[in-house]
């Protein structure tokens, strides 16, 4: 396997797999079509039905964290009626995530092919890409791809770029639906829990970029076998490293042995802390992880370097997550601030640790499933697992000790993936 380090950019790509064919630069339309072929015909109902059943058979599912089966989502959208907007979500709110950016910066045409295919399947009236306005590398790659598609007159539907403010929750599906329907990128509670489509006359369907890339593969004329692979962002001390991982890879194979870790944060800032022993021989595969009660979330794997303290890092993450609240629901506005302060007390150590633990045990269950979006739920889940996994570290902190040797922060709290 070859690794390429991009100049002025922290993301490293895994070259040689199907989703990242070129490595450090963008695949233009000619190169893309040479490798993936043209789009399969999507003219009549038989074509569409064939594609939909291929999506179903391949088991394509959402890659934003909820892992909802895409075929079910598309079918429910078809039932909801024509005339909607399909959105490719290219906004990664989490500073440690980079897989969608990697995809957009190297192979945007694959995602756009998937987007166009879902547009055709659902008889949408327009397509859109939701991207952070300060993700300049992603945007420039995207704009190049848009131009090439326009010149080749590929798209029959209008294509828009929605430039979103860089906030953690502005990439949440209901926030995107809200914004595309003319509002702001604020999560909204839909009583029917129909996460696929917004309500009203202009339905909006949101897909993760990686999901669309998989659909794009299925919609390509060169015969690609259905991929059982996942894009994983590995967070290391040297930066983020995006890899396409086949479903039989284990975590031990994924992580470099030169970087030993006892604890791993799976799924990012709203994910779970796990002991390395528990997952070392598990496969990097959502369905098999689900059996262990674990999830890859949005595909982030962050082995905590042994030089760093899990409690201090957790405290920094929770503080940052609290600052990202949409200022909408009580559990998020107040609850996350409470959590942040109590975990800060754990990280600071000393005699305040006991009181903080009591308060955490009291408050953590009260914050679950209360908000319009699941932003607080993720933080609560991450905190709960941190309390379990770092139990021995907590007792150390109580005695004013700490196992860490480094005071440098490990987890990024500002996104720097848009450098070029």
């Amino acid at each position: 396997m070859t690794l390429t380090l991009l100049p002025a950019n922290e993301i490293r790509y895994d070259v040689g797999n199907s989703l990242f064919p070129t490595g450090s630069r963008r695949f233009d339309l000619t190169e893309f079509e040479a490798r993936f072929g043209s789009s399969i015909p999507l003219e009549n109902n038989a074509d569409l039905e064939a594609l939909l059943s291929r999506i179903e058979q391949a088991g394509v599912h959402g890659r934003g964290g909820a892992h909802f089966p895409s075929a079910v989502k598309i079918r429910s959208a078809i039932l909801a009626g024509a005339g909607g907007t399909v959105i490719a979500n290219a906004a990664e709110g989490e500073p440690s995530a980079a897989k969608d950016a990697a995809l957009w910066q190297t192979n945007p045409h694959l995602v756009l092919r998937g987007l166009a295919a879902v547009g055709a399947l659902t008889q949408a009236k327009s397509l859109g890409v939701w991207v952070h306005e300060d993700s300049y590398s992603t945007r420039s790659s995207m704009a190049g791809a848009f131009k090439e598609r326009a010149a080749a007159e590929i798209d029959r539907l209008p294509l828009r770029a929605y430039l979103a403010p860089h906030r953690y929750v502005s990439g949440e599906a209901s926030a995107i639906i809200n914004a595309v329907q003319g509002g702001s990128a604020v999560p909204k509670f839909f009583p029917t829990k129909s996460r696929a489509w917004g309500e009203g006359n202009a339905p909006v369907l949101v897909f993760n970029s990686e999901t669309l890339a998989h659909i794009g593969l299925l919609a390509s004329s060169l015969n690609w076998a259905p991929l059982e692979s996942t894009l994983v962002t590995l967070l290391t001390l040297n930066g983020r490293y995006v890899r396409e991982v086949s479903s039989d890879t284990t975590f031990a194979e994924l992580l470099e042995p030169s970087d030993p870790a006892e604890h791993v944060l799976l799924g990012g800032y709203g994910g779970q802390w796990v002991n390395w022993q528990d997952i070392a021989h598990s496969r990097v595969h959502e369905a098999s992880l689900a059996g262990q009660g674990l999830s890859l979330g949005a595909g982030i794997v962050a082995p905590l370097p042994n030089s760093h303290c899990g409690l201090i890092e957790t405290s920094r993450i929770v503080e940052w997550m609290a600052s990202q609240s949409a200022q909408q629901c009580g559990p998020c506005i107040f609850g996350l601030q409470w959590l942040a302060e109590d975990i800060q007390a754990l990280a600071a150590g000393g005699r305040k640790v006991i009181g903080a633990l009591d308060r955490l045990n009291d408050r953590l269950p009260q914050l679950m499933k209360r908000g319009a979006c699941s932003h607080p739920d993720g933080v609560v889940r991450m905190t709960n697992t941190a309390l379990e996994v770092f139990a021995s570290e907590i007792s150390l902190h109580r005695k004013n000790k700490c196992s860490a040797s480094s005071t440098q922060p490990f987890f990024p709290t500002e996104s720097e993936i848009h450098a070029v």
Partner: protein
């Protein structure tokens, strides 16, 4: 079951029981004072003492209420949120029970001309008409605030209870005015009234001076409007 509901139901029931015990003891104390003074003053003493007690309870409920929802309160470790809330509910229920004792005793009392009408209907008292009306109105206000708050989880009051709860500070001011203007002990308690009033005033300013969540929320909504770039097809 919802945790909030569990807290408030338990707090209401236990404070009702405690409040009954407390009200009975106020009545017993008034009875013994009246017997000691060897005159038929039991009802009058009961009316005065229950009035002052109710005011102190209401003051405590208001102070706790301002502390429950204070924007800084998430950082406080000296008293848990749940404790503040339970105390707030407890004092409020006490205040209403003792006010009922106060109201009934002054309706029965012959010493001043208030009567049942004056005690229950605004502007119906022959004695100190306007100050008594303040008291009557603040009693109804307290009842309204308490009933809507205890039904805050119901569909009917989900939106309105908090709004009513905010104007409860007005009912506190009315009850305070009622106490100062009608109470026959005002001269003796004057400084107590002033200190207690100024305390709540300062606390209310401290509570409401903070930027509201509504404003932060408006800013967030304003800042998260997407820009849309139309691409040619």
């Amino acid at each position: 079951m919802n945790t909030d509901q569990a807290v408030s139901t338990r707090a209401v029931v236990s404070s009702l029981l405690l409040g009954l015990v407390f009200a009975t003891s106020v009545i017993l104390v008034a009875l013994s004072v009246a017997q000691a003074s060897q005159a038929d003053t039991f009802v009058w003493i009961l009316g005065r003492s229950s009035g002052i007690t109710a005011l102190i309870m209401l003051w405590a409920a208001s102070v706790l209420g301002l502390l429950v929802s204070h924007p800084n309160s998430h950082g406080w470790t000296w008293m848990q949120f749940v404790t503040r809330l339970r105390l707030h509910i407890g004092f409020s229920v006490f205040a209403i029970l003792i006010t009922i004792v106060h109201l009934v005793s002054l309706a029965l009392d012959q010493f001043v001309d208030v009567g049942w009408a004056g005690a229950l209907i605004p502007m119906a008292s022959n004695w100190e008409r306007i100050p008594v009306t303040f008291g009557v109105l603040s009693f109804y206000g307290m009842l309204l605030v308490a009933v809507t708050a205890s039904l805050a989880n119901s569909a009917i009051f989900r939106r309105s209870w908090l709004w009513l709860h905010r104007i409860s500070l007005l009912f506190f001011v009315m009850a305070f005015g009622h106490g100062m203007l009608t109470g026959s002990d005002t001269d003796a308690l004057f400084f107590g009234y002033v200190i207690a009033g100024v305390f709540v005033f300062i606390l209310a300013i401290w509570r409401y001076r903070k930027p509201s969540i509504r404003r932060k929320r408006k800013e967030y909504v304003r800042d998260t409007k997407p820009r849309i770039i139309e691409e040619s097809r």
